[in-house]
Symmetry: C2
Subunit: 204 residues, 2 copies
């Protein structure tokens, strides 16, 4: 009973905050507006969330669920192209609906992933993807020019850059944009061209 009430209040604050974020941005909005919309006191917000940004972290966690599920269910034999195509489609489905939150979500994500130390930070998608990349590298299906987890971060970042670029230029269909971004990464991350790569790495 108490738990249910607590969760209901928290949920109301969560949804109210996202609404206000979509309109005014995380930095631009007042916590009072969120609290009023959720019909609780401002202090109740602080009881449930340490800062405004933590609401977005919750949102990021929630937004990752379908993509994480999808990646988990892919068979071990999945190729790089299949993996990335599936991930991109799933992420696009989420963010196409939430373009207004994209920039705030991404900057909060960068900040928290950077502040918390190293590779522990980030959500399940980052970890699942890094693991897949490691497996693919071991099977020789991935360029060894960079460590698999770095490549994986690079890929996820590119997708977000593609999403943001789409947010600016919505005349391009999102799917076109993301598939092209994916294609660019795939061609770059192919395990071919070993000679020039080795030369560059060896230089230092």
């Amino acid at each position: 009973m108490r738990d249910r009430q607590r969760e209901e209040t928290r949920r109301r604050l969560y949804l109210a905050a996202l609404d206000v974020f979509r309109r005014d941005g995380v930095q631009g909005c007042r916590i009072d507006d969120i609290a009023q919309k959720a019909e609780v006191s401002r202090a109740a917000f602080y009881f449930h969330f340490p800062t405004k940004e933590h609401v977005l972290l919750d949102f990021l966690a929630e937004s990752e669920v379908p993509t994480a599920k999808l990646i988990t269910e892919l068979p071990a034999s999945t190729t790089l192209e299949q993996l990335l195509t599936a991930a991109v489609e799933s992420m696009a489905a989420v963010w196409q609906k939430e373009a207004a939150l994209l920039v705030d979500a991404m900057t909060v994500s960068i900040r928290h992933t950077a502040v918390l130390d190293d590779r522990e930070a980030g959500g399940p998608v980052r970890h699942l993807m890094a693991q897949r990349f490691k497996d693919l590298a071991a099977r020789g299906e991935l360029s060894s020019i960079l460590a698999p987890d770095v490549l994986s971060d690079l890929f996820l970042s590119e997708i977000f850059v593609g999403l943001m670029a789409w947010g600016h230029a919505p005349h391009t269909p999102l799917e076109t944009m993301l598939k092209a971004t994916l294609q660019l990464f795939l061609q770059g991350a192919k395990p071919t061209a070993k000679a020039p790569v080795a030369a560059v790495v060896a230089k230092k």
Copy 2:
């Protein structure tokens, strides 16, 4: 005389702010600390800068000067590889010294480039690079999978991701990290593989 005084105060606030940012981060620090360090009132800070973030925008502008100069001086015949190599080396020189400001600088940059509308936003490097990419695309030296300015944004973002990844894993030399990132992009952005690309774009 008055102008000189003004610039001196502004400069003191600027340097004090960066110092405080390096220690506490943009979000974590108090404007009072900056003002005290610069030996002026807190309101003097607001006279010179609308927000703490605007100090970082100034810093970003300053940090771009050498790279922008370099790009401007490259001959029209410069290849994609030469352009990117030069840009990466110049950016690496700046950020290697300012790793502590990297994450804050990047998030501020994203936020402001995203908030101000479209392609007008951003510093000279973004525009010079976009122009060069356009020229290279016209000469057929660049994949036409995405618009040249989008490709250019993608490249710059990748460099920053590489820089941040290096900030987390400083056992890898920065130069190795960035050259590898560059190589990955170069291979992806080569104007080869036209068949699969066309198919993907045509799909939607």
